[in-house]
Symmetry: C2
């Protein structure tokens, strides 16, 4: 085209007869004129049926070539905005009603006041994302990738990542993993969504869940038409010995390494009881290993999955170890489930970026992942120690429960104080979770849960600069 | 721990009494011993109930400190592999049955012979992925990203990308887009999956589809319990004037810019008819703009969505313009659908990588996306010209149908030859799609489709080095 590709200045023109104010924008005059005419119709300045000025006169008026105008008219005829009939010129199409003026109500709600300190359960320390190392891995991965890595990919995920994970998970988490049994997903939530679909096709009606946990996951199962009877939880994790008395369940969802959020590690006899149940009942154990890498008092306990890889589905992700924004997780599956999960995933095309998968594979195999986890383990451990020390000094009547692990601690409060403490914290600009929000509403009165007032404090999330203030505020709102 | 962090050599040891061959691997002796013991149980070399050698004697035998052995034992007790009773020492837990020897059947099927030339419909030219420019965008995006970009994100997608797309789509495709009406997804397949869920909640029972199209999408709708009556297709796209005679439908799926795969552009009066139908029937138009940027004979025709943004859902992605492996696409929605689609997406946590979203936003705003599309447009156009010229010379009785656009061309064949041509191509190592595989099986005999023998030739996919051979092979198998 003859028009300048770089003309992006704005001008106003008036077309005689139609009082057509056109503001020409865009990379060229033709495109600019086309856009301006389209906008004039859209906003109602050119009404349906209106006859457009002859191309020759509009061109003269705008100081552009007639060619530019006829091209713009033809474009809008092709798009359906205008109609052109031999002899009657070009008109605005009859059906082009102007768009309503934008609704009166403001579109964006006033932004909620952002808390000064965010210690609710969820994110790790986002400021620690290893940007430089990630970019290095990204550059290496992208440089080395075969061309077909840029194609559609398959539902299991990139083999490079599954291979790296098989090695890493065996080494770091005692998982019995083979690349062929790993399926990449975007995180635990996504993996559980796929799993719920597969459980339904296997005629499972109910999945036992820990009596304390994220309502997000209970809701997900409920939406998939699965009931979620609770299993009691104490300081040694879920009471898996009760599973054999729950004939209705076909699976159980557990957090063995570090019960979420109450903080216990599943005791060896309960690990055994879970596996015994699964074998006797032909059931599945869903192991959510959300923060298994972060243990501060000893080596992390290996995954339950290692005890019986044919009965346990192991879920992990980078959401706590690296960052949720990467949206990469994995499931290690009993062999027979692999095609079922892959089909569920493929049907919705819930694939992850191949480039991101290759980057994570490189990040793991280069050792950067281990180094990052080790470094974060030290930092989180120090924060947990500081939290325990500060509370011991300034609020000696509260107790930090649970093992020394993960990103959060349970701070047990005097009976009846939880709600007021959470509210006081909010008033001070500190967002923190109360234990009550994780409690499963037991439907069976005999399975009523003991009530414990507590906070669940995410000591990992605050940035370094916010940490001292967050900790001080927390101590100040203690009863 | 005292053990070397870097010892990864393998050694074999024998423990007296239990004939315990342990191969120590891993980053430290303790970890290596733990893994070796776990593996011995797993493979059945240590059977349930077996008493382990006393830590002192195993330590002496292995030449490691006793501490290393007691730690490994304690670890495996904690994981449930071993039991420890006061006085009776450490034993292999009773429930630890050895894993079955891996199934006899080989896991990996013999790899199918890879075609020498891949011209089936689907991928763009993967060898042209702009790795360097993508990395540049990635570096800039990652450097500039706020910390919260590494968090869980929201269901709409990153605002940076939605803003960049709103501008780009208005400019390049005539889409009436505002960032608040855009939802990021992983591609058209994903977007349509979400849309099908929302249509179901709106009590839609049937979605009209073009009589030629990808069975993938028909199957997706069918799985969502939606019927898919066909709309006839000719050289001017779908016969949308028929929609008003289909009272059962609540939506129609169209490819207006370039009918997939028959290659027509939707004629202006049919664009108008589609919008008229949607308004009269309170229906939705689903516009799959899969290759709208690639038009070679004129400026691309703007999106149908611009005609009525309240009735048209616009779908686009980088799968043809950049690469499917990026797994990023977008929906531009009527305002009222935004929360419904966002909820459907959020429920399954089908989020895309925040880093990849930020990279694409930077790639677009920096102008790299426009440059890449322009450069690919020239290359694809040249290939299409070469295809047309070669066929005209060497197979003058076939006809290239459809507009000069996109990544593929329809090559019309003499009646009754399609199947044998596809088979001949396969024998020559050339994979190419026959038109028959895109034909909707009309259930209504009155809506029976005219049969046309044709190939759908993806001239974009072959690498530069393969192109001449692919074109030559194609010409050779022509009837």
């Amino acid at each position: 085209m003859a028009d300048s590709e770089t003309n992006s200045a704005s001008h106003s023109y008036s077309a005689p007869g139609t009082d057509l104010h056109l503001e020409l924008r865009g990379p060229g005059l033709r495109v600019g004129l086309t856009n301006a005419l389209r906008e004039a119709v859209r906003t109602g300045r050119l009404t349906p049926g209106t006859r457009l000025p002859p191309s020759r006169s509009l061109a003269a008026d705008l100081g552009v070539s007639r060619h530019t105008v006829t091209d713009a008219y033809a474009e809008l005829v092709a798009e359906g905005w205008f109609t052109a009939q031999q002899g009657s010129g070009t008109r605005v199409a009859e059906r082009m009603e102007p768009r309503r003026a934008t609704a009166a109500a403001p579109r964006t709600k006033p932004a909620p006041r952002r808390p000064r300190y965010e210690m609710r359960v969820g994110a790790p320390n986002l400021a620690s994302f290893p940007r430089t190392q990630w970019l290095t891995a990204s550059r290496r991965a992208l440089t080395a990738a075969p061309h077909d890595a840029f194609g559609y990919g398959d539902a299991l995920g990139r083999v490079e990542l599954r291979t790296a994970l098989a090695d890493y998970l065996a080494r770091a988490r005692g998982v019995h993993a083979e690349p062929d049994r790993i399926v990449i997903c975007s995180g635990f939530h996504h993996g559980l969504t796929l799993m719920a679909q597969v459980l339904k096709t296997r005629q499972v009606r109910a999945v036992a869940v820990e009596a304390y946990g994220l309502d997000l996951y209970r809701d997900l199962l409920t939406r998939a038409d699965l009931r979620t009877p609770p299993v009691h939880v104490d300081e040694h994790g879920a009471r898996t010995e009760d599973l054999k008395h729950m004939p209705e369940i076909g699976a159980v969802l557990l957090t063995p390494a570090h019960q979420h959020p109450t903080g216990g590690a599943l005791r060896p006899d309960r690990r055994a009881a879970a596996v015994d149940w699964a074998r006797a009942a032909d059931g599945l154990i869903l192991e959510d290993d959300y923060d298994g890498e972060f243990r501060y008092d000893r080596q992390p306990v290996g995954a339950l999955q290692g005890l019986d890889p044919d009965r346990v589905v192991y879920f992990g992700s980078v959401s706590k170890s690296l960052a949720p924004g990467v949206r990469l997780g994995w499931m290690v599956l009993p062999e027979e489930l692999v095609p079922q999960i892959a089909a569920a995933k493929g049907h919705g095309d819930y694939m992850s970026s191949a480039l991101e998968q290759l980057t994570l594979a490189e990040f793991i195999t280069s050792g950067a992942y281990d180094r990052h986890v080790r470094s974060m383990r030290l930092r989180y451990r120090r924060r947990r120690d500081q939290l325990v020390t500060a509370l011991a000094q300034r609020a000696p009547h509260v107790r930090v429960a649970g093992i020394a692990a993960g990103l959060q601690a349970v701070v047990e409060l005097p009976h009846g104080t939880e709600r007021s403490v959470v509210q006081a914290a909010t008033r001070q600009g500190l967002e923190v979770s109360g234990l009550a929000e994780f409690r499963h509403e037991a439907t069976d009165p005999e399975r009523q849960l003991p009530e414990q007032d507590a906070l669940v404090v995410n000591y990992a999330a605050p940035s370094d600069s916010a940490w001292a203030g967050a900790l001080d505020t927390l101590c100040r709102v203690m009863p």
